[in-house]
């Protein structure tokens, strides 16, 4: 049997080719796909997140770790589906209307995927109606909004208000983030969650959908 701590290392160091080939080997050896994800892959991304928060990793290191995670996940996800393993949650992600900043949003999306969530990424310049329609269509339990401009922040309140009026109100949570966003602002507009960084976003998403970390 392959020592899968090497998969953990490959993800943490961003070696996507090795991560993918180790995932394939583990599957060929009939290792339980859920345990590969829970014991090695998610812990690797959690560690990457911790290093990012501690300023040991910066965006480049975090991005390549997330890419390695995705490369391995592409092979494992179909097996999880075959075994009827549900994702931790379904999250609709996007940057709010009028705002084209997407580096942070993409990082949050990758980290959420790394944390076991299914992500529906709507891109940038997303209207409140588009978020809610996508959440309904995909049966999402969370919407994650990103805004980097003080001029586009008010668009977040519009999404929160629209969700409250939608049939999914109560079950569908809204989490917000982006450089100018604070917990105070999240409270003020009635958003359910906030984090100032991508790894915190995963913990916050877990809290909001009621799952515990692996």
């Amino acid at each position: 049997m392959t020592d899968l701590s090497t998969l953990y290392d490959a993800i943490l160091s961003g070696d996507h080719k090795t991560a993918r080939s180790l995932a394939q080997t583990a599957l060929d050896e009939n290792t339980d796909p859920k345990s590969i994800v829970d014991k090695y892959m998610i812990p690797a991304m959690d560690e990457a997140g911790r290093r990012f928060e501690a300023n040991v990793f910066y965006v480049p290191e975090l991005l390549i770790a997330a890419r390695a995670m995705k490369a391995a996940m592409e092979l494992i996800r179909p097996k999880l589906l075959e075994n009827h393993v549900e994702p931790a949650g379904r999250v609709v992600v996007g940057t709010v209307q009028g705002d084209l900043h997407d580096i942070g949003k993409n990082l949050v999306a990758s980290m959420l995927e790394g944390g076991g969530f299914e992500v529906i990424d709507l891109g940038v310049d997303v209207s409140p109606e588009q978020y809610v329609a996508a959440a309904t269509e995909h049966g999402a339990n969370l919407i994650a909004l990103s805004a980097l401009l003080t001029t586009t922040m008010p668009g977040m309140r519009a999404v929160v208000d629209l969700v409250k009026q939608s049939p999914a109100a109560g079950d569908l949570k809204v989490m917000i983030g982006g450089a100018p966003i604070t917990q105070t602002y999240a409270d003020e507009i009635g958003a359910d969650g906030f984090s100032d960084n991508a790894s915190g976003a995963v913990n916050e998403a877990r809290r909001l959908v009621g799952v515990t970390a692996a």
């Binding site: 910066y58 480049p60 001029t151």
Partner: protein, 389 residues
Amino acid sequence: MNESSISGEPKATTPRDWSVLHRQVCFGESGGRIIWQPRIGCWYTDKQFAGEPLPEPYEGMSVPEIFRALGCSDRLYNHYNGCFRESEDPRVHRTANDLGDGRTEHVIETPVGKQVAITRKTTNNWHVIHEKREVETEEELKVATWREEHAHWGWVQDCYDRAQSEVGDLGAPTIFMPRMNVQDLYISRMGSENGIYALYDWPQTVEAFFRAREEHHEQLIDLINESPIEIINFGENVHSATLSPEMFMKYHLPTCQRRCERLHAAGKFVCSHWDGDCGPILPLARETGLDGIEAITPRPQGDVTLEEIKAGLGDDMFLLDGIPAVYFDETFSVETLVECTQRIIELFAPKLILGISDEISSTGDIERVRIVSDIVEDYNNGCSGEVPS
């Protein structure tokens, strides 16, 4: 406009000729005085795009007229940047194809292959979304490298003369130099994510591109050094989250040092635009060789305090800008703006070209610009230092 030989001196003093004070501040000849240069371009263009009238009395005024009305100087990049024109090799052909729905395909053909980019217009402002960047594959980066190797720079005297006659009173001639290595890869060519992957996946091809770009810029520096333009800004848009300290030291710092050395040899004032987070790289500021750094954004908008900025820049480097843009919004009180402005002056004058980090946004109150104009005016009136004639 034709490329031409370089001639001309900066304009002489008139009653409110900011160009003289601007130059004196940069070169330490202002007798302690500072200068106030807010950036209002974003405020103006966003309002224009939205078809919103400007508040009175500015409606109908051009940007230079607004600066004159506000009693402050302008950093005149937009007017002088065109003095240096980049020409591609004649074998490069560009075509643009309208794909409908505001989408455009841009095809750049060269003897060594082609690049394709797709952009989409947005409804909220003049920015476009890049659906496909002009570099996404290693082959496209090789084409971009060839283009750098075969392009050249020329001087456009007409542009200089026009800027002098239209806005020569608003500030000393100033330009942005194009971005160097990593920042160019991220912002102009590939987008940050693909740029980061390229640095990891094809480092040799990326480094060949960086070398070609630096050599191409050396030709530009030769031309700048012969020109009457004395204030040179590296328009880098540095952001330490994506330009990590490791990458900063490996790629950005050495090129920055080499550029500064050559520009300083010709007596230029050199600064760079760091408008993102900069906490992790601020301790390296004094190694860059720069005279100053522009757009460093203090808390609550950026990631550093004014005191940390001072510690990073030390006593020899200039701060350009410094007031967080959000202080021009009504969400913050005028007292906060005034206190911050006074603290910046206290910490950095006379090595200070005061401005907004980064620009007043379309929701900002333009009258607050005038409040800062008055503070600076009072400060300068209290300076006793002699100004050499």
